[in-house]
């Protein structure tokens, strides 16, 4: 599977991922699945006012696995602009920690436009990878 995501009981990220129409692995508080092939991570942001704790703990535990981390190729972050500078901060933190790009940021469960842009972006990303693998 090429997508992994985390979502809490409010379910925004889960609703966003569902509309992407692509199978995705769900990270839960009790279960950090190991990723064995290249994938993109989708996660919400839960920072305090200072930016601490932006990345949910289950996502940190998931990324602590070196094998999973080696397969991470980018992150997509959820949030809410009302949080000001902290908007979608989880994307910046993971990008920095794991040396991967933040591919996209969206608010709450995302709009129809967000879904389309992410679908198209992911499509381009996978195509570019297939292409470069074929050349290499």
């Amino acid at each position: 599977m090429r997508l992994a995501f985390y979502s809490t009981a409010s379910g925004n990220t889960a609703r966003f991922v569902e509309r992407l129409g692509e199978p995705a692995v769900r990270i839960t508080a009790g279960d950090a699945p190991a990723m064995t092939a290249p994938f993109v991570l989708i996660t919400p942001t839960y920072a305090d006012g200072e930016g601490r704790g932006a990345v949910p703990k289950p996502v940190i535990r998931f990324l602590n696995d070196p094998g999973t981390r080696a397969n991470l190729i980018g992150v997509i972050a959820g949030g809410n602009r009302n949080f000001g500078e902290m908007f979608a901060r989880a994307g910046d933190v993971i990008a920095q920690k794991c040396g991967v790009p933040c591919l996209y940021r969206f608010e709450l469960a995302g709009t129809a436009g967000d879904v389309t842009r992410v679908q198209q972006g992911l499509e381009r990303l996978w195509q570019a990878r297939t292409h470069s693998n074929a050349v290499a």
Partner: protein, 325 residues
Amino acid sequence: MKDFARHTPAARGINWNRVQDDKDLEVWNRLTANFWLPEKVPLSNDVQSWATLTDQERELTIRVFAGLTLLDTVQGSVGAPAMLADAVTPHEEAVLTNIAFMESVHAKSYSSIFSTLCSTTEIDAAFRWAEENPHLQAKASKILADYAPGADPLKKKIASTFLESFLFYSGFYLPMHWSSRAKLTNTADLIRLIIRDEAVHGYYIGYKFQRALERESAARQAEIKDYAFGLMFELYEIEEHYTAELYDGLGMTEDVKKFLHYNANKALMNLGFESLFPDSVTDVNPAILSALSPNADENHDFFSGSGSSYVIGKSVATEDEDWDF
């Protein structure tokens, strides 16, 4: 006497060491960490900037803040307390009392802005205007009807989420507009603190709504969803009139309406519903978006960028004891 005692439920203290819903504690922690008072914001630094506004711009600003004061007052004194009776955990009650108190802080902070920038005559005129404005009164009475004693708990939560996540935004637009023009920047800092609080309030009430709705029958779920979209349409129509009356004079109405659409979608998403307005009418002025979340867009997202290369995020604090690498 004995009989009476047997039938009265025992009074209970709240035990924060047994939390049934983790969201209660999570939201409590975030709300208390967010706590602020208007005295912390150096509003008087805006006096010079205030003097650069035209009479018309000043009057608009005072009226917008008087309208926001009214909504915060309603939510603090009626809305949040009205939901106490429907709380399913004692911790939810505690969160609601925190929300109610913060609404009182919000309402009072507009008075701090007024006393810093305006004369007593101007302040009194603005409160009178708010009391007499038909559109403002119409939205307040729509919401208050759903807050009435004995009202449907689900409808209370819908009205409350719409107030927190939609009705404020015709007002919030203006300080974000001034901020994007480097005017009233301290006032804008204070409004951003309110905007952040409202995000957590709308999120939490919407979350409790989702939990309560999932326990209902399919028929009742459909009825409630219809009610929510119906109320949104009615409120939107009032907001259109309110917005036009306020902003037509400065030619800003169309821009404000995009902001209304954008926030209406977010309010519906907080309830767990799909958004209503298509992207073609939610293209909020980017200057307003960056006034909302300053510095958040420094790095272009790869997927929305016009062929820009991968950019690794800006330097951010990444420390968290849970990271293993």
